[in-house]
């Protein structure tokens, strides 16, 4: 079978498409985590600020919001650390 130039460019295209990271990879998860942490921290900042300004926010709401932000942040940090650790192990294996 004769290979035409258009076949090569088609093959090249699908190969290039394969190289893009899929949407469900760890990178995407980490990105979502970062944006979550960002939103949570903005929420707790707004809550704390308006509690100071006298808005009718319950004390426990503010504290819960702050604590959840901390948990989310620590979770994200731990996931990131584990990912880096796993990557390093992987890199050493290939040697």
């Amino acid at each position: 079978m004769k290979i035409r130039p258009s076949d090569i460019s088609f093959a090249h295209k699908s190969y290039l498409e394969q190289k893009k990271p899929p949407k469900t990879g760890f990178g995407e998860m980490l990105k979502k985590m970062v944006s979550d942490v960002d939103n949570l921290s903005k929420t707790s900042q707004v809550m704390t600020q308006s509690a100071i300004n006298g808005a009718p926010v319950e004390a426990h709401d503010v504290m819960i919001s702050v604590e959840e932000t901390r948990l989310a942040f620590d979770l994200m940090l731990e996931v990131r650390n584990k990912l880096i650790e796993a990557y390093r192990e992987l890199m050493q294996m290939r040697m």
């Binding site: 808005a55 009718p56 959840e68």
Partner: protein, 162 residues
Amino acid sequence: MSGIGLFKTLEISAAGLSVQRMRLDVIAENLANVETTKTAKGEPYRKKRVVIKAVKDRARPAAGQMEFSRIMESNTGYIPLRLGRHSASEIPEGSVKTDDKTPFTLRYEPGHPDADKNGFVKYPNVNVIDEMVDMVTASRAYEANVTAIQTAKDMFLKAIEI
């Protein structure tokens, strides 16, 4: 209860304190003047009393509270408080009125400079026993409001330990 927050409950208790304080002041004035047969107006002292009514607050929660409920609900699936029909705050308000209806007490004292032609003297319409009883209830109610404020403060301090 439009909105929750520490300050609303303090506002309610503070109004309660004001009202009871007003009552205590009026009682003190009544007792001080129990023998005043002639005031500047020329007639005996007329006892005063405090008329209390409840002022209703807006039933809708404050904008801030609804916004936060929505945010927390969307963040973590909390079900926010449903405050209900009777959630508007009712804050007591007192005003001092003079009791014009109760008649003066008449005492037979012919030698008194303010005696009328039959020898009777008009004394203030203050009943000492009633005033003392009112004083006790007003004091107790005052203390109860103080306890409410103390509780609100305790709960706040506990919350910030979370």
